[in-house]
Symmetry: C2
Subunit: 211 residues, 2 copies
């Protein structure tokens, strides 16, 4: 098998994805996000399950270009976000999951570290992008914090995965009047979260071909 | 919605997965791995696509208990592997993807960093577990290195995802006489790779309930 350059592989993958999507019409603005998620998962269900709030792509590009603080609910999602693209946009990425105070507080309250880490995020005063790829408890806590006027993210990427409260937590976020990208249903994941953020970052600041 | 403790959520998720698998009979040894991958992806296709070489679970548990060097093809897979479980088994985890020499060599040779990082892994003299969740080029290079007698991993977790050479690269690895767990077809990912490794680590050394 011939080994190709990374960008050649990516371009060929996107061609295959476009071909297999066939004559399906995707929203032009949302298309790069949908295709990148399919590229990351090889799962075409995302063409149906990703839900975009009105104008979210244009708003996201603007937010990222202005430099936002991106907070993820897992180290994995943080690891998957392209750091060169983050730097080009003047953004920063954080995750509080390995913070020892967060772990202690979660244990004391009988909740998850992900939920507590959303409270830590709410204390940040910069424009916030909240990225949840794993824990529905993070989305539920975020929803509570929004209802209590304790935080107002500029963008929510809500794609936790799983079987307990996952579907419901995403429906809560979609009802908020905040720009959001959500994967309806059980599916999602840290890889999907990172793919969505990367697609938006690449729209905000195109990549060098060697990266 | 009630927020539950992490282990309660996980236990309830596994109950739902077992129920939805219905009367399907899974190999008892492989079951914890299959269920953890479904837990991570909410994708039941993995009950069909995961291919286990003969005796791979018993062999993996033995290898991990003896302390192995686990090398991943992405920072994301490394981030997803439970570090407490790694430490309990006396293992270590490495990833060479952010190594600047690896990047330079990949650019010079017109190949991927993932392929070059497999050559770095081949230089390690400890018992090796190779974990590929993203790049088929890593699996192809690994296959070449095995054929050239330059490396002989104790275990290969081969679950790259995508559209170009992914299916083929996994078939190559399954033909090697090396213990392997592979996700046949296009699907896989860093999250799937980490889930498989974690399932094996938890079998090798059971978790503290609070972790």
């Amino acid at each position: 098998m011939e080994i190709m350059r990374p960008m050649e592989i990516e371009n060929k993958s996107f061609e295959i994805i476009s071909r297999e999507l066939g004559d399906r019409v995707l929203d032009k603005n949302c298309e790069p996000v949908i295709k990148r998620v399919i590229h990351t998962t090889a799962d075409f269900e995302y063409a149906d399950s990703l839900v975009f709030s009105e104008g979210v792509i244009e708003k996201s590009v603007e937010i990222l270009k202005a430099g936002a603080c991106i907070v993820t609910d897992t180290q994995m999602a943080m690891a998957g976000i392209n750091k060169a693209a983050v730097a080009r946009c003047g953004c920063e990425v954080m995750c509080f999951m390995s913070n020892s105070e967060v772990a202690e507080q979660a244990l004391a309250e009988g909740t998850t570290r992900a939920a507590i880490s959303m409270r830590k995020a709410a204390e940040i005063e910069k424009p916030l992008v909240i990225v949840v790829g794993n824990a529905p408890t993070a989305l539920i806590e975020l929803n509570n914090l929004i209802n209590e006027d304790k935080v107002k993210p500029k963008l929510i990427v809500g794609v936790p995965v799983g079987f307990v409260n996952v579907v419901e937590s995403k429906e809560l976020i979609m009802k908020q009047n905040i720009p959001s990208i959500v994967a309806r249903g059980r599916k999602g994941g840290s890889n999907v979260a990172a793919a969505i953020v990367n697609a938006l970052l690449y729209m905000a600041s195109p990549r060098d071909i060697n990266q």
